[in-house]
């Protein structure tokens, strides 16, 4: 039970990071981006590729299974994922936004997610991959609870990122513009701010979070082209549970979804794990569609 809790928190942290990016883009850009989950897969694999190119020029930093090489690879992955997000926005979303209905853009994101996933499959192949072949020793914290140092790192990094993001949104001009954009795009322009710039930065931040989430997933679980597709439902469930546009809500939502998934194996066969986010989602939609903490503008029409 304790182990399931710990695993759930780990999964929850990864979902939370991805959900933050999703809730930001959903709240500010106002559309459910099905391709966001694939940014996570892309980030994870870009880091893998970067590692392959740079080689392991430094050893792991104990007690973790990774060292400087992965850190650099992650930075590269962040840049490449942001680039992909901006490219997709420029080539697909922006043209469609101005000429067609809202749902067409959502649908296009669905199509784009397929393309990204397949490209990764083509380049890297379909079998599981890992950042390193180092074996980690799980540390026995207490009876019934084994924890890997990498997992603790994941949790710590997630918390650090969340705090940093909060400060960014509250204290910086750009963060303020982003919060304003989520409420009223026209008024933001009337105030003299070029919303296109704010939109681009929103994509960059969302993509960066997705990339980090992907690397952490690859680090603590494994790399497969289906990572994003499998995270899609948990991400949406977490973002909606926490209230769309609400960063803090996305974090809590992510943790809840992770814990629920992890604890569910105590009650139902493990094969059904993936259905848990769906039931959480349905429950939220029936009972409280604005999420626990309230969406920015509400989900109602």
């Amino acid at each position: 039970m304790l182990q399931a809790l710990a695993d759930g928190i780990l999964t929850g942290s990864i979902i939370a990071l991805g959900a933050i990016g999703l809730t930001l883009t959903m709240g500010i850009l106002r559309f459910a981006n099905f391709a966001h989950a694939e940014l996570i897969t892309w980030g994870a694999y870009m880091a893998l590729g970067a590692l392959a190119i740079t080689g392991t020029f430094a050893g792991p930093i104990s007690p973790f299974s990774f060292g400087l090489p992965l850190v650099f690879a992650t930075l590269i992955a962040v840049v490449l994922t942001a680039a992909l997000a901006l490219l997709i926005d420029h080539l697909v979303f922006r043209p469609l936004r101005s000429h067609t209905s809202h749902m067409t853009v959502v649908f296009a994101s669905f199509g784009v997610s397929l393309l990204v996933r397949m490209v990764i499959l083509l380049i890297f192949g379909g079998s599981a991959a890992y950042y390193s072949n180092e074996l980690q020793i799980a540390i026995r914290v207490m009876p019934g609870l084994r924890v890997m140092p990498d997992h603790v790192f994941t949790l710590g990094l997630t918390l650090a990122i969340v705090v940093a993001l909060h400060l960014f949104l509250q204290k910086t001009r750009l963060g303020l513009s982003m919060r304003a954009l989520a409420e009223n795009p026209d008024l933001v322009r009337i105030n003299g701010i070029d919303t296109r710039v704010v939109v681009r930065w929103t994509w960059v931040i969302g993509a960066a979070l997705a990339a980090v989430s992907g690397v952490l997933y690859g680090l603590t679980v494994q790399l497969r082209p289906e990572i994003g597709f499998q995270l899609l439902l948990p991400l949406f469930a977490a973002a909606i549970l926490g209230g769309v546009g609400n960063v803090f809500g996305a974090v809590i939502g992510g943790l809840i979804v992770g814990l629920a998934e992890s604890l569910s194996v105590l009650f139902v066969p493990a094969g059904y794990k993936m259905a848990v986010p769906f039931f959480i989602l349905l429950a939220v939609l029936y009972v409280r569609p604005n999420g626990i903490f309230g969406a920015l503008r509400g989900g109602a029409k």
């Binding site: 303020l176 919060r179 009223n184 026209d186 322009r189 003299g192 070029d194």
Partner: protein
């Protein structure tokens, strides 16, 4: 003679190019002048100021600020054209604090200027000071209007455009808002105001334009128009002298 502050010539504008709301409207505003635009519902008054602000596309005609053409201006460039715009609804960010609303309005300024001017805004609008750190949604309608105007003035515009500033305000608030606007004129700012409150508009402004169905109908000295029966006729849907 020096060019007028704002000159709108034969503007045709609308959200869809095949369905224009304005069918060739002309108007001008001089320095330190208050000009009102009135007219029945659907006349296109809001659309007129929105088109100057770049929120509604202009398909024909021109808009010029001091001789420089600014037709179909990008909305976020309003400040560089010395224009500030206060929309009728949703003119403040209710999810942000008063301070944050003002900070946003000062986005185009340097940090030093922004600090100075925001401090001045609190001096000019003391009622806002007590709510500084609170979200704008706690403000009453009149206070929100104050905030919206305070925000607009941060960029020290030469032309302030307002869309129905008296909407939803008590008569007391209306007279307070209007007297504020009057003092602004004295500082050299020009005001272009769309109004539903015909009596107050005519009483306070220098000149007035009457629009109906997307076209000019009458314009002239506000005091003279106040007694003009044509104005009432336009509101009731009857004829009215065409320009």
């Amino acid at each position: 003679m020096s060019p007028l502050l704002l000159e709108i010539r034969d503007v045709v504008a609308g959200y869809r190019p095949d369905l224009p709301i304005l069918h060739g409207v002309s108007l001008h505003v001089g320095t330190a002048e208050m000009v009102t635009v009135i007219g029945p519902n659907g006349a296109g008054k809001s659309t007129l100021v929105k088109s100057v602000a770049g929120l509604v596309p202009i398909s024909a005609g021109s808009v010029a600020i001091e001789g420089t053409e600014v037709t179909n201006l990008l909305t976020h460039k309003l400040a560089t054209a010395s224009i500030a715009y206060v929309p009728q609804t949703a003119n403040v960010f209710t999810s942000l604090t008063i301070d944050e609303n003002l900070k946003l309005g000062a986005s185009t300024l340097s940090k030093a200027d922004a600090g100075r001017r925001i401090a001045k805004a609190y001096e000019d609008f003391p009622a806002l000071t007590q709510y500084r750190g609170q979200k704008a949604k706690v403000l009453s309608g009149g206070q929100r209007q104050m905030l919206a105007v305070a925000r607009a003035l941060l960029t020290e515009p030469r032309l302030l455009m307002l869309d129905e500033p008296s909407a939803g305000l008590s008569p007391l608030m209306v007279s307070e808002v209007f007297s504020r606007l009057k003092t602004l004129i004295a500082t050299g700012v020009s005001i272009l105001m769309v109004e539903q409150n015909v009596k107050a508009a005519l009483a306070i402004s220098d000149r007035t334009y009457v629009l109906a169905e997307g076209r000019n109908r009458i314009d002239g000295d506000s005091a003279k128009l106040a007694g003009d029966t044509e104005v009432a006729a336009i509101y009731l849907g009857a004829g009215g002298r065409k320009r």
